[in-house]
């Protein structure tokens, strides 16, 4: 292209310079030219691209008022007429990631190529993997210059109408799109080669990528629990009968929050498990306490082994739960437990 690519940059309230959490509900604002990290992005683009405008939206606004936000983004893009939309980077921020995903989707629906960047386990990737071209990032903002450079490079390619190669080659998060290719050797030959390389300690590249789970440093052990409050989290899907929050039997996005204040035991008449991954007959006809040992905890409370049980427990369904979403749930639960002075959490899985 002879003329510089017209770019619109999407950022959240923090990177847009409006403020922190307290401004998370800010509706979409449109600014001329680059803002915040957009300035560094413009420097990277040089004369190949020109950031004609910046869209700033609060994290909560974008993540929770999707319909409104989508419409506002659409109107803004119609006004700016960009050749390319760059969103983020969102790093590990789930709500910001969802905002970036929304911006990209609106752009793409109007025929405008879009590139974003975020941590591969960001909730937005879990839910929008197929639709996004996203540069993988770590969790550290210090990586910003490298990430912006990658976003610019991929974005300019797309804006010039070039097709992207496979994710591993081009450096974006795999979208899970499978294309059939013919390899030069049959499967068992390649498998044996992988095995021999692995046994010999030589480098090898697995053809199927297995999920790696991050390591979390263990919390230090409290010596004495006699005055400690224990918080309960379950992925066994225990909910009030009737499932008022409609917790799904699989692929849950959130957790329910229910009171056990003053309860010694869960009565099968009042509670059920909605877990769709195993037979819940015993829990639902005999005792939900098999999946949430409230009577045992009350027993230890009465004996003075523990100080008490946090009055609210969190319940989700572990069946096919996405790692990124499970982490978001865990974070929210941990925040409430920590703010309430809960000493330890007891989690029950099937």
């Amino acid at each position: 292209m002879a003329h510089p690519v017209r770019v619109v940059h999407y950022v959240n309230q923090f990177f847009g310079g409006l403020g922190g959490e307290e401004r998370a509900d800010t509706p979409l604002q449109v600014r001329e030219g680059p803002v915040g990290p957009g300035r560094a992005l413009q420097q990277i683009l040089k004369d190949q691209g020109s950031i004609v405008g910046t869209l700033i939206a609060g994290d909560d606004y974008a993540a929770e008022r999707e319909g409104e936000a989508a419409e506002a983004i659409g109107v803004a893009l119609a006004g700016q007429v960009p050749d390319l939309v760059l969103a983020g980077p969102a790093f590990d921020s789930g709500r910001y990631g969802l905002g970036c995903a929304l911006a990209c989707q609106v752009a793409q629906s109007r025929g405008i190529p879009a590139v974003t960047a975020m941590y591969p386990d960001n909730a937005a990737i879990i839910t929008h993997r197929r639709e996004l071209i996203a540069v993988p990032t770590g969790v550290d903002v210090i990586d910003m210059p490298r990430v912006l450079a990658r976003m610019a490079a991929l974005g300019l390619k797309l804006a010039r109408g070039e097709t992207l190669g496979p994710a591993a080659e081009e450096g974006y998060i795999p979208r899970g799109i499978r294309r059939l290719v013919t390899k030069d050797r049959v499967g068992y030959e390649r498998a044996l080669e992988l095995l021999l390389a692995r046994v010999a300690g030589r480098p090898y590249a697995s053809e199927i990528l297995v999920q790696q789970y991050e390591r979390v440093p263990p919390a230090p052990a409290p010596r004495d629990l006699s005055r400690a409050t224990i918080g309960i989290v379950v992925s066994t899907g225990v909910v009030p009968r009737g499932n008022p929050d409609r917790v799904p039997g699989a692929r849950a996005l959130t957790a329910g929050r229910y009171s056990v204040d003053g309860l010694e035991s869960l009565d099968v008449a009042d509670w059920e498990s909605v877990h769709g991954g195993f037979n819940t007959r015993i829990l639902n006809t005999q005792s939900p306490n098999y999946a949430l040992p409230l009577p045992a905890l009350r027993h230890f409370q009465a004996e003075g082994v523990i100080g008490g049980v946090y009055p609210f427990f969190f319940s989700t369904v572990g069946n096919q739960a996405a790692v990124g979403l499970a982490r978001e749930i865990g974070r929210r639960v941990a925040r409430e437990f920590r703010d309430a002075g809960v000493a330890a959490a007891l989690q029950v899985s099937g």
């Binding site: 263990p218 066994t236 040992p293």
Partner: protein, 77 residues
């Protein structure tokens, strides 16, 4: 955490894992007579509380003791 499939939990790097009975009833066993079932539940949850009070370096599996009764028998001989 208490879970009936501890191998998965340890592989996913959960740090304090207590073996549960079965997926359908991790914290007890409905096939046992009520007293034995309750004893089992207490052993499992006590193991979880002990695990909380134990320093660990990484993913660690804690096995609830087989039974309070059998423990006594072994020590007596």
């Amino acid at each position: 955490m208490i879970g009936a499939l501890p191998a998965i939990a340890v592989a996913a790097n959960a740090n304090r894992v207590v073996r549960g009975v079965q997926v359908q009833h991790p914290c007890g066993d409905p096939k046992l007579p009520p007293e034995a079932d309750w004893d089992l539940t207490l052993r499992i949850v006590r193991t979880a509380l002990d695990a909380i009070r134990t320093e660990v370096a990484g993913p660690t599996l804690f096995e609830p003791p087989a039974s309070s009764a059998s423990r006594e028998a072994v020590r007596a001989s």
